[in-house]
């Protein structure tokens, strides 16, 4: 029997019983759709978390002065035991490294702020205008530090929300002058409440231009340099290039440490991937149930069609041909159901995305392929038994039945 004829005969047999075929394909498609939708949810959760991490600056590469790891004996260690300072010039140089989107030098110190007769101790951050973008902070009032030469700081300050409240209350602080340390700075902006990061709240920060801070703290060195890579994929390259650049500038000595936030993110990525796999596993159970249903239906089909099977044998069909007919039918049923389910799953995921636009519920390709593959495999595996039973049927008994 030709394979095209086998296919046609099997699909005729399947469409000959529309209700049974329909129900079976429904069960199979629900199984596959469950896999597709649940993995879309799991993977969506992963993308969502990664996205959120990216939002708080996951593309960050941070340069710290000094080397954190210890190396073996090195003659250079004898000559210079103290690391070179990380300077504003280093920071400016990093802007020329390819893959770097923006940089932010950071200098931190404690100081006092006083205005309207109130005095408060506060943490001061000296940085540049890009800091707000690098750290993804939000401004409540006014504007952030103005763009300018890193070495000539303007006399301006951005206040944390709590400081503003404690010093000015409900009064508008914009344009007012505050005394910070021994300088008088003009308030140009106020951060929104609740910002946090790097282990401290931004509510109690004073943000001033880096040169101003250096002058106040009487230092040339930086606390660290924040480097933002253009994309997540470039983080690795940027990290090496940054290290190379600084090493070059520091006369070939590797006296800085470069770290990324990506390591944390990768851990999350891994955890959520496992979660997705777990969810897919649960969904696969419904596929297995659908597979058993295929077997059930095919067994019923064999019982109902004994007469037909006997006839086929009387007409000269070999056992192999009969087995093939039933196998092909089972595979056709599960595969069609599987494809239907994939469509349903994509539709469901699309509806989810429509309902929750922030949630990227896209089914991963591997899950779709696995779903279809499982449908096909269950058709093959669970089709074997009914097909064998059909092939082994005694033609006389099959014919005399009914």
């Amino acid at each position: 029997m030709k394979i095209t004829d086998t296919l046609r005969y099997a699909s005729d047999a399947a469409t000959g019983t529309p209700l049974r075929t329909g129900l079976l394909m429904l069960a199979m498609s629900i199984g596959v759709a469950a896999v597709v939708i649940l993995t879309a949810l799991g993977d969506g959760a992963r993308r969502y978390v990664v996205g959120q991490f990216s939002a708080i600056g996951s593309n960050l590469v941070i340069v710290l002065p000094g080397r954190s790891e210890t190396r073996g004996f090195n003659p250079a260690n004898l000559v210079t035991s103290t690391p070179r300072d990380l300077t504003v010039d280093d920071a400016s140089a990093l802007l020329r490294v390819s893959g770097v989107l923006r940089i932010s030098p950071v200098l931190i110190g404690t100081t006092e702020i006083s205005a309207a007769g109130k005095l408060r101790e506060a943490m001061m951050v000296g940085t540049n205008d890009d800091f707000i973008r690098v750290r993804q902070l939000k401004l409540g009032l006014g504007h952030f530090l103005s763009k300018g030469d890193l070495r000539h700081g303007a006399a301006e300050v951005v206040l944390g929300a709590l400081i503003r409240q404690e010093i000015f209350g409900t009064e508008n602080p914009l344009g007012k002058t505050v005394r910070i340390g021994d300088r008088r700075l003009r308030v140009v902006g106020v951060l929104t409440e609740g910002g946090s990061g790097m282990g401290m709240t931004t509510d109690e920060l004073l943000i001033v231009p880096v040169a101003t801070a250096q002058a106040m703290l009487n230092t040339n060195t930086l606390f660290r340099i924040l480097v933002e890579a253009r994309s997540r994929e470039q983080i690795g390259e940027v990290k090496t290039r940054v290290l190379k650049m600084i090493t070059q500038r520091h006369e070939g000595e590797e006296d800085v440490t470069v770290i990324t936030q990506d390591a944390v993110l990768q851990t999350f990525d891994k955890i959520l991937n496992v979660l997705t796999l777990g969810v897919a596993g649960i969904a696969a159970i419904s596929l297995a149930v659908a597979g058993i249903l295929v077997m059930n239906v095919m067994l019923v089909s064999v019982t109902q069609r004994t007469g037909e099977i006997g006839l086929l044998k009387a007409l000269g069909a070999t056992s192999a041909a009969v087995r093939q007919l039933f196998m092909v039918e089972a595979v056709l049923l599960s595969l069609t159901g599987g494809m239907l389910g994939t469509g349903l799953g994509y539709l469901g995921a699309a509806i989810l995305r429509h309902l929750y636009p922030t949630f990227p519920a896209y089914p991963p390709l591997w899950a779709v392929l696995a779903g279809l593959g499982t449908a096909l495999a269950s058709g093959l595996i669970f089709g074997v038994m009914p097909a064998r039973r059909a092939a082994q049927l005694d033609p006389i008994q099959a014919l005399t039945k009914r």
């Binding site: 030709k2 000959g16 007409l315 000269g316 070999t318 006389i396 014919l399």
Partner: protein, 237 residues
């Protein structure tokens, strides 16, 4: 018995025993039979006499427990199932009391079935099927399913299906059992016409009138042939 002519079917000492529960039923006991090409045989006997078993055995649907069966000079008892299927496909045509049409297929598709199973190319199949439809006067019924056909038409489809590969032997098990007298008569004439063309016809029946039309009548009882009469060629038809 036409010993001289080259035999089409030779059964030698055939035994067939069924086990029902713990009792054994002898469906066939030491059956010896010699059938020449082109014979018209009626096998008669009460229910359970073994006549259907005999027919199934000749049709290679059943195996003998003992004895040999030669079809066209070839021992077919020892063939493996796939080879037997090939013999069934090419040399044997079956006609059943309940027609056994595949209900979801059209008349044409039912007739085509043996050709499809044998792996014949589609173009050749279509040609043969349309010719068969014409021969059996079913051309205008070609696209009807079996539930849209009358009993006589169904049996005609079944006969067309059984003979489309030009088998040597046509085995009919109560071919008129489910038909009224007039259509039954029609079907018998059709079968007899095929026999006249040279096809060996073996009919199993309860119907004495139908059995009487055959040139050779075999009576069976309790698994044995009790009488084997060949009447004169002159037939009342």
């Amino acid at each position: 018995m036409p010993e001289a002519a080259e035999s089409l079917i030779v059964l030698n000492g055939i035994d067939r025993t069924f086990t029902l529960g713990d009792s054994k039923v002898h469906a066939l006991r030491n059956v010896n039979l010699n059938i020449a090409p082109g014979e018209y045989i009626a096998v008669m006997g009460p229910s359970g006499s073994g006549k259907s078993t005999l027919l199934n055995l000749i049709g290679l649907l059943d195996r003998a427990d003992a004895g040999t069966y030669q079809l066209e000079g070839r021992d077919v008892t020892t063939l493996d199932p796939d080879e037997q299927a090939k013999v069934r496909s090419e040399r044997i045509g079956f006609i059943f009391q309940s027609f056994h049409l595949v209900p979801r297929l059209t008349a044409a598709a039912n007739i085509e079935l043996p050709l499809t199973l044998s792996g014949m190319p589609a173009a050749e199949r279509a040609k043969r099927v349309s010719q068969a439809l014409k021969e059996y006067g079913l051309t205008d019924r070609a696209q009807h399913r079996s539930n849209e056909l009358s009993g006589g038409q169904r049996q005609r489809v079944a006969i067309a299906r059984a003979t489309i590969l030009r088998p040597a032997v046509l085995l009919a098990d109560e071919p008129t059992g489910n038909l009224d007298r007039v259509t039954g008569e029609e079907v018998v004439r059709l079968l007899e016409a095929l026999n006249t063309q040279g096809m060996t016809l073996i009919v199993v029946t309860h119907d004495q009138a139908l059995g009487a039309r055959a040139r050779r009548q075999i009576r069976m009882d309790d698994g044995s042939i009790v009488s084997d009469v060949t009447s004169k060629p002159s037939q009342p038809t």
